[in-house]
Amino acid sequence: MFSPEALLQQIHDMEHGPERLEAIAAAIRQADDESAHYWRIHLRYDYVQESVFHGDNFKAIICFPELLKVFDEHPEYEEDTWDDIMLAFKWVLDNMTDYYQITREEIERYYEEYSKRCKKFGITERVYYMKLADFLLPIDKERAKEAYDAFRSAAYDRGKRGAGSDCKACEANYNMRYSLIFGQEEEALRFAAPILSGELRCAEIPHETYSYLCWHYLYKGDLSEALYYGALAERLVNGEPEHLDSIGTLLELYSVTDPNHGWKLLKENVTQYLDCHNPYMQMCFATGAYRVLHALPDEILQDITHNPLILSLPIKSGSGEVRLKDIHDHFEKTATELSQRFDERNGSSYYMDLLRTQLKAPEEESAPASEEAPAHSLHGLVQRAPSILAVFVPEQIGLDAVCERVKANAPDGFELITCLYEEEQFFVTVRYEERLYEAVIVSADTMPPEIPCRPFNGLDREGLQAMLASPARYAVHYDFSGDPFLSYHILLKLLHTAFPDMAGVVDLVEQKAYPETWVRFVSECRDAVTADDLFGLYIAANEEETEIWITTVGMRCMGLRELEAAGVTPDNFNLAVDILCAAARAAIERGVLPDEGEVFTQVNYGEEPYEVLWQSSEKLRHERPEALCGRLERELPGAVLYIRTDEGDVLPAECTVFEDYDQLDCPNSRRNFMRRIRLAKQSFPLFAKAVQHPFERAAVRMEFQVDEELADEYGYSIELLWCEIDRVEDGRIIGVVADTSEAVPAVKEGDEVEIVGDRAAGWAIQPQGFPRVIYEDEGALLLEVGLA
């Protein structure tokens, strides 16, 4: 019995991708058997859509002629479905050129058919010309230009613009692309502006915009711009099968800027490559992969890899290993063959010319302290730098044994891709939530005993000295990947698995030292990592100590420019540190530092908000050298903070506007707020256990439901109120409400409430004999290890 509702429910319950595609195919067969013609059309459209947007569009190309046939055979459903058909037609036109197997004549026939149907259904031919230009571009640039001009000059009649039209974001992206192709960069950036500002976006934009700009600047030889757009694109396309072509572009980029990162990106996406049936995407990926491997020195190409992801490539390999040179040859052959086939189909040499293009290598590092101010505005995103940590262990242990230990104790959810001890190095790669995390660990006995660092998170100076005196030490090289909070959690989890008896770690980039207890805590509790854990502060002064220079250290590990506070004096030092840290937190939590001159966070002074922006230290050195701490040479380009006030822009040195320091508020972000709430709930059992013993003071921030009407008025439905813990009776924790809120008139200051963990949104405790109150993040750590 054919039951479309049950089938649709079943399909809907599935994840997007191959499984769902197969389920839709099965539903199509049932609809065919039952001659349910409406559903035969509907389900085929779903199939095409699924293949285009959640796959490599191969099956869409196969299915579309059937869809068109069934649609034509049943004009009774034309009224209900023609706009769907024209949408599907457009997607197919968009993608059929990706298959060299489809001849040029066949594609041209499809274009004719599409044009005919546009006229029939009264649709503008803008889309026709738009797609035609894409088809013609690798064949004949002049004809592509004619089609593009026809698209631009086609009457923009709103009444006729309809089913099948690309959205505004896609059209803006298209205009940008063709302006670049025809050498109009200024015009292109004007078209791209609403996309780059976030005003225009859709399912594929800005992904494609970033990728194309990256590709354009890469081939133009402007690596700084290419890296910037590459960094933006990578966040959106990494791991997405429908963006395999963009990943190919990123690989090409990293082949000239950072082949190691390119190699990692290659491994992260090799599964998508192997599952891909789309020759164009395969060609793009293979080209990028070939370039990455080609950039490696010859001696490294002779190395072998045991990585099982790489071993799944169709390359003849010896027992569980393959030479990098063989992988290089495989991708070179694939890229060449596919480029040739596309060129044969198109009757041109477009793709082979691209493959033969020598990409411009980065120039010799220019002196950082150049007197010349940069000509154009600068980006906040920069190339990621590796994170380096030192692990201190009381007893020497061979890295081969560490390797075996990790193999035997891989944490839940970690898929060990590589766990290899070779040439005195321990390589470990884990896959977690579809992303790869890689670390290389080496013995570091030769590391100097004096390491510049400060103790944090429960470590005191004596503890630090003891830790640094540990006889065994190891250096860990790690690249952040994706979400830095998760990345750091995974790193520490990995380290705690490898060295469970460690004394602690020093983050050599951030110059911070952490005790084992904190490493264990973070490795167990993902929400325990805060933005403050992801950067450190480097502080220096001139000889007279009248000028101070403060800069973050560690932001570059997340691909963000280091932030500086210039013009700091002993008088405004605390203020500058607070503003700098607030700005760094905001950038880390959003994962983005906008371009120079764009507002990226604000600080409040009383009721008044002030915008925080940055300008490059290069420019500042040129324009206002007196603002910088003169003695110090900067090794890296920095982002110097300034604040926008009504009366002009000021640096911290001129922050007289903030003279009443108590009124300054650097607000935390919502992400941090939600993380703290999750952490409070998760760690509440520790608190509940602690208050069974005598304590100086304890309180819990409780969630109270706001009455429906008041919720509408106030715009929120849960109020958070602190409750002082009064007593514990038979295991029940009784608190007294410490505040009154107008949003919850039923609860008043002094009311008694039972404290329960699932309503806890924060907690604080001062155990008896402990010198101060501790909150849930630090408190959980200290209670866990019994320090408090």
Binding site: H42, C167, L200, R201, C202, I205, S717
Partner: protein, 336 residues
């Protein structure tokens, strides 16, 4: 030159509903006289919004085609992100309202849906609200189209053009009840019934769906549970006549005297309403209730029967189904 921003502030001081609609209408005339395109558009938007949220939707529906035409005639409006978005949101309200007005033919409705879809695609927005509203429109008309749109709605991502999560949740509840899946509906409704999700019309609209569902199954105890929750909200609200109608249908069985008091308090709103669907449900409920009073209310009962039958006939003509006609006969409405 008149300061339209001040004018807007002035009419926002008026009581919501008829008074404010009248004031906005005058503001439209002033903006038309001044030929101030932005304000002409903005006041029309204000008018439609007021009619949708504080009216019976009738005036908004009447005004909308003119607003759409105006928007089309002034392409500079489409250049403004703000105006584009306002137009889209107005469209969303209207396509939801059209199911309540049988005067809007099916082909006119389809034309509206197509325009909404084009507008969404044009702005790179999710089709979520298109599938949601179209699925809702077809629930009484074509089960296949309702299902097809419902599952596309489920798959479509939410964005700023979509209804909020609470209304989407309510829509899922409605669909499950439409299929007769009580258990699934209760599961879907949990965030609304527990108070975690709320909106201006929620949880009452969800309660009303359950009330009608249980009433139609003759499960009066359960129906009464929901009736008690919505009655304080619906009683005395001129724009919740449909809820009053369903409540009267229930009280006709459970507590006719209570129902009569409710009827008397709310009849004046029925007389003033121009929304056929609201009037139909009220008239149906009133007929169910009044017929229990025998000869005493026979004439009035017949009067409501006649109105309900006439309105249900209009819906049958548009929708091609006689659900509402069958609903008038209580014994057919309640399938014990």
């Amino acid at each position: 030159m008149r300061d339209f921003a001040t004018l807007e502030q002035e009419f926002e001081q008026h009581e919501r509903g008829t008074a404010r609609l009248g004031a906005i209408r005058m503001a439209i005339e002033e903006a038309d006289t001044a030929q101030d395109v932005r304000w002409q558009f903005r006041f029309r938007y204000d008018f439609v919004r007021e009619s949708i949220f504080s009216g019976d939707r009738y005036h908004g529906l009447i005004r909308f085609p003119e607003m759409l035409h105006f928007y089309g005639e002034h392409p500079e409006l489409a250049e403004s992100e703000h105006c584009r978005y306002d137009m889209l949101i107005c469209f969303r309200w209207i396509v939801e309202a059209i199911s309540e007005f049988p005067q809007v033919t099916r082909s006119e409705a389809e034309s509206y849906f197509r325009s909404l879809k084009e507008m969404l695609l044009d702005q790179g927005k999710s089709l979520s609200c298109y599938f949601m509203k179209r699925g809702y429109f077809y629930m009484r008309i074509d089960r296949d189209l309702a299902a097809a749109n419902y599952y596309r709605f489920l798959d479509a991502p939410l964005d700023d053009s979509s209804d909020g999560r609470p209304l989407c949740c309510n829509h899922r509840v409605m669909y499950q009840l439409y299929l007769g899946n009580e258990e699934a509906a209760l599961r879907e409704a949990e965030p609304i019934l527990s108070g975690r999700l709320r909106a201006y019309c929620l949880p009452y609209a969800t309660h009303h769906k359950f009330l009608r569902f249980y009433l139609s199954r003759g499960e009066y105890d359960k129906a009464e549970e929901y009736a008690r929750r919505i009655e304080p909200k619906a009683d005395g609200d001129p724009f919740e006549l449909y809820m009053i109608g369903t409540l009267m249908s229930l009280w006709s069985v459970c507590d006719p005297q209570h129902g009569l008091a409710l009827f008397r308090r709310n009849r004046r709103f029925y007389d003033a309403s121009e929304n056929p669907w609201q009037r139909l449900l009220f008239a149906t409920g009133a007929y169910h209730l009044l017929r229990t009073q025998g000869a005493q209310e026979e004439a009035l009962s017949e009067q409501f029967l006649e109105t309900a039958t006439q309105l249900a006939g209009q819906f049958r003509e548009r929708d091609g189904t006689d659900d509402y006609l069958r609903g008038i006969r209580f014994e057919e409405f309640v399938q014990v």
